[in-house]
């Protein structure tokens, strides 16, 4: 049986976390199809077909899919589900929103945030903010899964030869409408896929101090993140948040500045390869997971680090 990946895209291109989801799908079977539901989404569908390992693209091109509203996309997933053993989507806010709605329509108990695949019906997933890892076995005939993208390598964007096939739209459910969005504009890499992340916490004291971190981010080609405390305090927008209920990141290098290291924050970053912590409190729990800890006042340490990077990079 084939595996279906529900693509997250902006009608023009495929979002990076979808590539990691393809890798998870390929671990389940070698006939991986992709569903691209959008409006004017031909280029996204073409990009989907080019992804290494994708053998077919189902394109549903209709106005009601433009903004990915769950009430419209879930019935489409149900309509195309027949013949698939597994349906996967990235565990992003898109996948988390749409997939459980589709799962309920298919009378299936979804497996969320899968971080490992043992077999066609057995999966690993973090529970309790990643303080435990559960191995679970599904008895549902069709498995709906959201994939933790940091646990799988991205599939290559080129090399596939998936033909694009049109599928019939399922219509507007008439339940919700898109009004608008305020997206954070940034020239820096996306937080969840960046190779280096520098995050600030409550210790930053104000949003006005975040440019200190941005300067370092620009030298390192890093993304800027934040702890919940910094977001709640209004220093930076919500989409900066790294943690159990924010974004999960696993970069090569994570630099935590003025972050104490609450369990909920650690849940979002402790799979990073190398962790650096800068904090003036030497008892801060962040030091228990840091490879390199620097006990210092961040207002002195960060400019010093900036100057050192300027000198040596």
């Amino acid at each position: 049986m084939s595996i279906l990946v529900v693509a997250e895209h902006d009608n023009a291109s495929i979002k990076p976390s979808t590539l990691n989801t393809v890798t998870a799908a390929a671990a389940l079977g070698d006939d991986v199809h992709m569903l691209v539901a959008g409006s004017g989404c031909q280029s996204a569908a073409d990009a989907a077909g080019a992804i290494a390992g994708v053998t077919k693209v189902l394109k549903a091109d209709s106005a009601e899919y433009e903004h990915g509203l769950a009430e419209n996309v879930a019935p489409l997933i149900k309509a195309v589900a027949d013949g698939y053993s597994h349906i996967l989507a990235p565990a992003t806010t898109f996948g988390k929103n749409v997939m459980p709605r589709a799962a309920a329509m298919l009378d299936t108990q979804q497996i969320s945030d899968v971080s490992g695949i043992e077999s066609a019906d057995t999966f690993e997933r973090p529970i309790y903010a990643g303080n435990a890892i559960a191995t679970v076995q599904s008895s549902d005939p069709i498995k709906l899964i959201t994939v933790r993208s940091t646990a799988f390598e991205p599939a290559a964007e080129q090399g596939g030869s998936g033909a694009v096939e049109d599928v019939a739209a399922t219509g507007d459910a008439g339940l919700s409408t898109f009004v608008g969005q305020e997206l954070t504009k940034s020239e820096r890499p996306e937080l969840t896929t960046a190779r280096i992340v520098i995050s600030g916490g409550r210790g930053m004291q104000s949003g006005d101090n975040f440019p200190m971190l941005e300067k370092i981010a620009d030298k390192l080609g890093a993304a800027v993140g934040a702890s919940r405390a910094a977001v709640d305090a209004g220093y930076v927008p919500n989409d900066y948040q790294v943690g159990q209920t924010g974004k999960v990141v696993a970069p090569d290098l994570y630099i935590a500045v003025g972050i104490s290291g609450a369990i909920q924050h650690l849940a979002g970053m402790k799979d990073s390869k190398v962790i650096v912590a800068i904090n003036k409190d030497d008892e801060a729990p962040i030091f228990q997971v840091a490879d390199y800890g620097w006990v210092a006042d961040l207002f002195e340490a960060v400019p010093e680090l900036d100057a050192e990077l300027e000198k040596s990079l």
Binding site: K96, Q110, N131, V179
Partner: protein, 250 residues
């Protein structure tokens, strides 16, 4: 308008979770339990709606063993009007929970269901979406701002790229995110008053719902531990180590 708020009893978010020695799950015996933090935000939102004249009754519903009543009482002490306890000692999966809640919604006919976006035990983030699907209602997940007016609502959602605003046809299922509000503490007089508020008792069988598990937990283990590394004393030392030891920059 009636507001239905489903809530869950979970391990208190400040408690360090421990995996059982036999790897069958996490240790729940003698562990401090509390209302799931996202559920508290949902209760608070319902109360604010009522205080602003937008709701006339708040019903809190929870599923679980006897002690689940404590969690319902917490909601009543915050300001909800009455409770429904669906008693079962089985662990009910999100789909089963959604099916039970669907029956409660059919009986109670609320104008809106407000609930947490996820419980911090299973971290599934599914129940609201599933309930909305079963009812064929509109839904807004991860909501940080909610305005209900008549048969329409405007919801601002926290999404990966920033914020998104959608319009919902009522009735709707709304799942709440952290920044929607800051839940109040129950005052002592309100805790006393809550003891007298009614809680209806039901079972999954009363509601005619099969909650048999579809997913079996084979084992639960500790995640790979991270060891604390070394301390550095200067930027020069840090940069040198990142370059030559960790080889992650430069």
């Amino acid at each position: 308008m009636k507001v239905l708020v489903p809530v869950k009893r979970v391990i208190d978010y400040n408690v360090k979770v421990r995996v059982k020695a036999d790897n069958s799950g996490v240790e729940l015996a003698n562990v401090k339990m509390a209302m799931n933090p996202f559920c508290e935000i949902a209760v608070e939102e319902a109360i604010r709606l009522k205080e602003a004249g937008g709701a006339d009754e708040i019903v809190v519903v929870s599923i679980g063993g006897k002690q689940t009543q404590e969690t319902i009482r917490t909601g009543l002490a915050m300001g909800a009007d009455r409770g429904i306890h669906i008693e079962t000692d089985d662990e009910v999966e999100p789909l089963g929970v959604a099916k039970l809640l669907q029956k409660v919604v059919e009986e109670e006919a609320p104008g809106v269901v407000i609930m947490g976006k996820q419980a911090i035990d299973g971290d599934n983030n599914q129940t609201g979406q599933m309930l909305s699907a079963l009812l064929n209602w509109s839904m807004a997940t991860f909501v940080s701002k909610l305005e209900i007016s008549g048969d329409e609502a405007s919801a601002t959602r926290e999404v990966d790229g920033g914020l998104e605003t959608i319009k919902l046809k009522m009735p709707a299922v709304v799942t709440v995110d952290l920044r929607l509000n800051e839940p109040r503490y129950a005052s002592l007089p309100n805790i006393m008053k809550a003891k007298k508020k009614p809680i209806d008792e039901k079972t999954p069988a009363d509601l005619g719902v099969d909650t048999a598990a579809r997913v079996k937990t084979l084992k639960v283990v500790e995640p790979p531990a991270r060891e604390a590394g070394v301390k550095v004393a200067s930027a020069a030392e840090l940069v040198e180590k990142l370059k030559n030891e960790a080889k992650v920059i430069g």
